[in-house]
């Protein structure tokens, strides 16, 4: 049974959550949590006579996606109408791009490396999100359906892969990589509910291709495909065969159910959208997109390895989240020592955040404060456990790190000078020093004197250490 390796292709829809307005009108792109049908206008509810106007930022964003995925950008592209009746489509057509022969999406080709294996991208295109159907009660018990058009017209980028994925797990890894990449280039926030949706095609040798619709999370993609793979294998083993059909993922029951057999496939009667002139993608537009591109994850990993000398594993962890690697970059900028910062972040900061249940983005600690804290640790001004508890309040409350030593590190007394002052104090306070030899607690008196003479420029604990050393040396010399 294990030789029945599946062939999987994905069709991913991501909202361009960085945009301020919808794809074809000036309604806010931030539709979540608003009372139903309050984020609408004549254009996005398809009022008669209204006309779409392309959001230029959406075009720039999708060009960034194309660049990040190393895809070929079309210099000439256009929108088409996908005609079908459905209650969530206020115009009863969707402004999209034609996916059949002769259609020209915004970009073609490209790929994502999912840990040694390459998943090729077939197509990247732009389209509008439909409204949201709200059922009274559940789908089955509902006597009617309600429409909320707040989401209608939100910009979606559709990314279609070649059938290069060979397991449900790989599908999940692909989606995670894709999410991270889109977050890196600043066009997408995967933490928003419903921002990424996915349809999957899966077949096994000898069986028909099955399309699974309605997958709305990374975890579900693996679950849905695993279920479907098992179902298809069962049918093959029992000699029933797998028919070509479209199935629906039911996330509550965790199964796929048949929606329609492919023979009745809909004819969407695509034709070019007459209200939007074709788009000429000029060099200037592409340059504009390139200028706003940050360094990409795969480029960043290479950079960490070659410039900072990090191990690839360490670099990959840091780059796995955009927020983390940005934090890392800022700390290194303040403090240097990239290797030390990397290992400390992974050994101390991340476990702490994990324990507190706080995301890197939600942490209130400022990078420069973290750098200061780390430097203080490294210079022995604060020990690890105290540093961690300080870090905790920095993360939760945004408090500044208070090292007992109040002065800036730069104005600290030099070791030579400190040594000289200690010798002077020991000489002047012979009796106290003798006391300290017998009773370590008496040493604190001398520490106080030294710190005072340094004008507060010395760290008491360091003075304590140096004085203890003097005591030990004295004892040794007496022996």
């Amino acid at each position: 049974m294990s030789e029945l390796k599946p062939i999987i292709g994905l069709e991913v829809h991501c909202q361009l959550t960085n945009l301020r307005s919808k794809l074809f009108c000036s309604c806010s792109a931030d539709y979540r949590g608003k009372p139903p049908n309050t984020n609408i206008c004549p254009v996005c509810i398809g009022e008669p006579g209204s006309l779409p106007v392309l959001n230029r930022e959406a075009l720039i964003s999708v060009l960034k996606v194309a660049i990040a995925l190393k895809a070929d950008i079309s210099r000439f592209t256009y929108f088409s109408r996908k005609n079908y009746f459905y209650p969530d489509l206020p115009k009863n057509f969707q402004i999209s791009q034609y996916d059949g022969a002769g259609g020209i999406p915004i970009a073609r080709g490209g790929s994502i490396d999912i840990g040694g294996r390459i998943v090729r991208i077939r197509r990247i295109q732009l389209e509008e999100d439909p409204g949201r159907i709200v059922y009274e009660g559940t789908i089955t018990s509902s006597t009617g359906l309600l429409m909320d058009y707040n989401r209608s017209g939100i910009a979606l980028v559709e990314i279609v892969t070649e059938p290069d994925i060979t397991s449900p797990r790989e599908a999940r890894v692909f989606l995670e990589k894709l999410r991270s990449l889109l977050e890196y280039i600043g066009v997408f926030d995967g933490s928003l509910e419903g921002a990424m949706r996915c349809d999957a095609n899966i077949s096994i040798p000898g069986g028909g291709r099955v399309e699974i619709k309605n997958i709305s999370s990374f975890h579900d993609v693996e679950k849905a495909l695993s279920f479907e793979l098992a179902r298809q294998k069962q049918r093959m083993v029992r000699g029933l065969g797998v028919i070509r059909e479209t199935r629906h993922w039911d996330p509550r029951r965790r199964i796929t159910v048949s929606l329609r057999v492919k023979e009745e496939e809909q004819d969407y009667r695509y034709f070019p959208e007459p209200d939007l002139p074709p788009i000429i993608v000029t060099d200037a537009l592409i340059e504009e997109a390139e200028r706003s591109m940050p360094i990409l994850p795969y480029e960043k990993i290479d950079l960490y390895v070659s410039k900072y000398g990090l191990s690839r594993g360490l670099a990959e962890i840091l780059v796995s989240s955009k927020d983390l690697s940005e934090l890392y970059d800022k700390i290194v900028e303040c403090y240097g020592k990239p290797g030390r910062v990397a290992s400390w972040l992974i050994e101390d900061l991340l476990p702490l955040l994990d324990k507190l249940g706080v995301g890197v983005k939600d942490s209130k600690a400022k990078p420069e404060d973290i750098a200061y804290l780390l430097k203080s640790i490294d210079e022995g001004l604060i020990d690890r456990s105290r540093a961690l508890s300080m870090l905790r309040s920095m993360v939760l409350e945004g408090s500044r790190p208070v090292i007992v030593f109040e002065h800036s590190l730069e104005s600290r007394i030099s070791l030579v000078e400190l040594d000289r002052i200690i010798s002077e104090v020991v000489e002047a306070e012979g009796k106290a020093f003798q006391d300290a030899i017998r009773n370590p607690k008496a040493l604190n008196y001398l520490v106080g004197l030294v710190v005072k003479r340094c004008g507060g420029r010395a760290d008491p604990r360091e003075v304590y250490k140096l004085l203890s050393k003097k005591v030990r040396e004295y004892r040794r010399s007496r022996r």
């Binding site: 008669p48 006579g49 006309l51 005609n83 209650p87 009667r269 209200d275």
Partner: protein, 472 residues
Amino acid sequence: MKLIQEIESGSLPLDEYLARKAEAIAKLEPILNSFITVVKGFEKSRIERLGLLKGLTVAIKDNICMEGIETTCGSLILRGYKPSYDATVVERIKKNSGVITGKTNMDEFAMGSTTEWSAFGPTRNPWDPCRVPGGSSGGSAAAVASGESDLALGSDTGGSIRCPASFCGVVGLKPTYGLVSRYGLIAYANSLEQIGPIARDVYGCALLLTAIAGYDPRDSTSIDRSYTDYRYALIEGLEGFRLGVVRELLGEGVDQRVSSCIEESIYRFESLGATVEEVSIPSISFALPAYYIIAMAEASSNLARYDGVRYGMSLSARDYDWSRYYEDVRSRGFGLEVKRRIILGAYVLSAGYYDRYYIKALKVRTLIKKGFMEVFKRFDALIGPSMPILPFRIGEKIEDPLELYMCDIDTVPVNLAGLPAISIPCGLVDDLPVGLQIIGSYFCEDTILRIAYNLEAALDLRLKPVFSEVCV
């Protein structure tokens, strides 16, 4: 325009003028049925400072949105729909101190050339109420011809301004595609149509065009050009103008009485100093089928949104599956001709037929554009009849869609090419008006207005339909 001088000088106070217009509407509407909706109390409008339009009345075709005023497109499916916004042209008319009198009758969704397909009854021709006023902007043309309104807006997808202008003996201009914003024009076939002015003289046409033309960021197909006052195009004299008479527009099926009227105008042009030559654009012979394929294809998609959920017609939704509900609303709400065009449009776009019909029609369209461009290297404007025939009787052709489609043969080439064209009265035959069509190159509205202005002055027709309140 004498009327403007009277209003400006104060010899005709605005309230008196508007009261007269309200009277004219009250008197003529029972006969003509030019309006679907009359704006209540328009005659009480007060205007602080007279702008470009000087308080003149403007009737608006009922496929152009006006906030809070019922807009039906002549269809039951939109009955009760009150737009939440003003079309750009409505905004501009208000801003230029035009007084909007009402929404005019039309063939349902502008699909027709007689105004008989309106769900609210046909409009009658003021020259002979037994005859059609042309269409689809029949209500606008009849309102202007009869003096119910002094200016009107129509929309022209395949001749819907020029056809009724010709049949009602008024001046109607279809602008270059992209000159006038379509924002707020309820689409029939987006890639072909433009809103344009209808008036009793060329000056009125130039005036209203000046008020509505210009770039609108809300319409992506609108073109950013500098402001033009078309009144300044109305210059006397046509010395050195080169006019081409398009052979294909005067071909088979043109009524002999219409072509002799056109020929007389040709002599007029020559006597005004223009040179006139015959010219041929062979690709025009394929215009009619190409036009209907493209228009119906776009219509089938544009009209999909009328499902009785968000606006207009609505049935009690109890015990309905949504697809059954859509079916019922659309079966009851749309008229016969609209259904015919939706079905044909869906057919030409469907898999297997798309290349054979839709793509081929687009190729014809490109050929026609090229044909015109070629000819405009040698001519300032082209002339021909607006309509091949005279206004016919109500009910005469309604049973035969193909015969009705054939009436558009002289008007559709211009829409396929996106060119500007004007129809102006050039004579009367058996007390029925004949319209001459003047076609210009892209954005040469000034040229065709000037040519029309000179012909109008030379002919000095002083037209007065039987049913009218117009003082000539």
